[in-house]
Assembly symmetry: C2
Homo-oligomer: 342 residues x 2
Amino acid sequence: MEETAMRIALDAMGGDYAPHEVVKGAVEAAREEDGDTIILVGQPDRIEAELAGWDLDGLEFPIIAAQQVIDMDEPAAQAIRQKPDSSIVVATQLVKEGQADAVVTAGSTGAAMVAATLLLGRIAGILRPAAAIPYFGIQQETIFLDAGLNVDCKPQYLVQFALMGSIYAQKVMGVENPAVALLSNGTEDSKGNELGRATFPLLRESGLNFIGNVEGLDIPQGRANVIVCDGFTGNVVLKLTEGLIQVLLDLVEAEVGAKLPPAAAATFQPALAELRRRTDYAEIGGAPALGVNGVCVIGHGRSRARAVKSAIAQARLAVRNDLVGAIKEGWQAVAEKTGIEG
Amino acid sequence: MEETAMRIALDAMGGDYAPHEVVKGAVEAAREEDGDTIILVGQPDRIEAELAGWDLDGLEFPIIAAQQVIDMDEPAAQAIRQKPDSSIVVATQLVKEGQADAVVTAGSTGAAMVAATLLLGRIAGILRPAAAIPYFGIQQETIFLDAGLNVDCKPQYLVQFALMGSIYAQKVMGVENPAVALLSNGTEDSKGNELGRATFPLLRESGLNFIGNVEGLDIPQGRANVIVCDGFTGNVVLKLTEGLIQVLLDLVEAEVGAKLPPAAAATFQPALAELRRRTDYAEIGGAPALGVNGVCVIGHGRSRARAVKSAIAQARLAVRNDLVGAIKEGWQAVAEKTGIEG
């Protein structure tokens, strides 16, 4: 595919460590692919102050002003309505107007999704956008969705999540023919709650590489590339994983580390810290917002430069490989096979 | 409370390591409380062969014959119907007939629940029995329920789970005034799926010590003593926790352990093994079947002697502290406050 210069609109004010870590991530990302342009959106004086701290070595970062900032805990829909000059709204607007090819933010997930849905709209036929989460660096080729946007789902939503996750796995994660599974309370075909039992036959007909039901333990074991569930369950999976990793690695430190001879601490501590970093969701990069009519990648609120850089890399791949076009086309095929109307 | 001799019916044939580990667990349990009687239910020749391997030192184990065994993967309802002379059916029957005060099994959870529900019936007013799981030795004073029996739930079931879990936490875990929470996708009162949003106000009125919504990460962090959810979500929580602990401790071994100097391995390996053992669900003891009209404790299929002994200890506490009577009485109070009809 021919490479064209790309423009990423980066919400410089989004996230707990913005703008410092966000700008740092932008600089690092730009150093790696200097043909692309990263547009920094936010309060110009603060952004310029951050940029002044780096040796830019010829790199240029256009700045688009946005004076407002949406806090992590503001109710999303209200915040978007009341803050039209917020960095996330302005950055998303750039994509809508064709002045940018993708938006990347580490701000409030809810606000970013509302902005993307309102401004970019949904891909034709897609009923509900969803957020997909790469599985914590533990399984590099496993994502699950919906991670929390749609707490009450219908079977047709889950089929669309499956299609969108499958396309994302192909186009951004580089997985050929991704294995798609339905999260259930057992692996037998007959398992599942009411929603799952109604979704199963549709997935069978979908033309996707549907491998059937998987259980909770199959997520960390990476038994499928795309694991689909409603957003309530997905949120529990996300938060439980995040909490359990922390609690368990704390236990390893307190109960294993403490018993080691002092000389071993010098290797134990950095090795454990590396494992913590690798499995820290905030370090992973971003959750793509799938189903909106444009590329939008949402990093964890605790994103630091490395995660911002990784979210930008995801956005680049999604644009370069035409994620949105592939979802649009893929959905036509699935809709025909399942009879679901978008 | 006056102590009376107690009789526990133990399914000697249930579980992956039966009868060897089950009988061993019975012998160890009996050595600790020799006033009680543990009745071994199963194939007499195999049980006697196991008992012959131990120095019983005056301990006596009545044997009640049951020739059939229900495999772990048999469909539960069908197995119970087709195998009336199975160890789990005969053991549960002893409770029904007043010849035992509790039944303990490490056999199929589904079969044990069906046997308990059919033979013992439900406590007056309780709509759906549920299985409660102690949180993996990570949080000693946290249980969650339902762990998988009722995949589709109504708000009134969840209120009953909350009551039953609360009584269990008091009577068996020794927690005074247990904090009860609803598993949700956020901590705010307005969070939750349709089921959760309908359950929340009922729990507010229930008279229980309801602390509101908790998220997935609050389970390993032990932010409540009793965490209530539908059985679909509960199964995902159970299996995800089990799988993630294994995968994560494997990563600790491969990526932290491997970097240590050889001299440290002698302390690292046993300390990690101890942490694995402590967080292994199979080692914990048992999941009480709550809501059935009798005491029934179901161990993990991989239970070894220590877990069998621990399940017997749970059953003893449940009998001694009149778990069933307390649930019956507790439900009257909650029903009055919430207006839920049993």
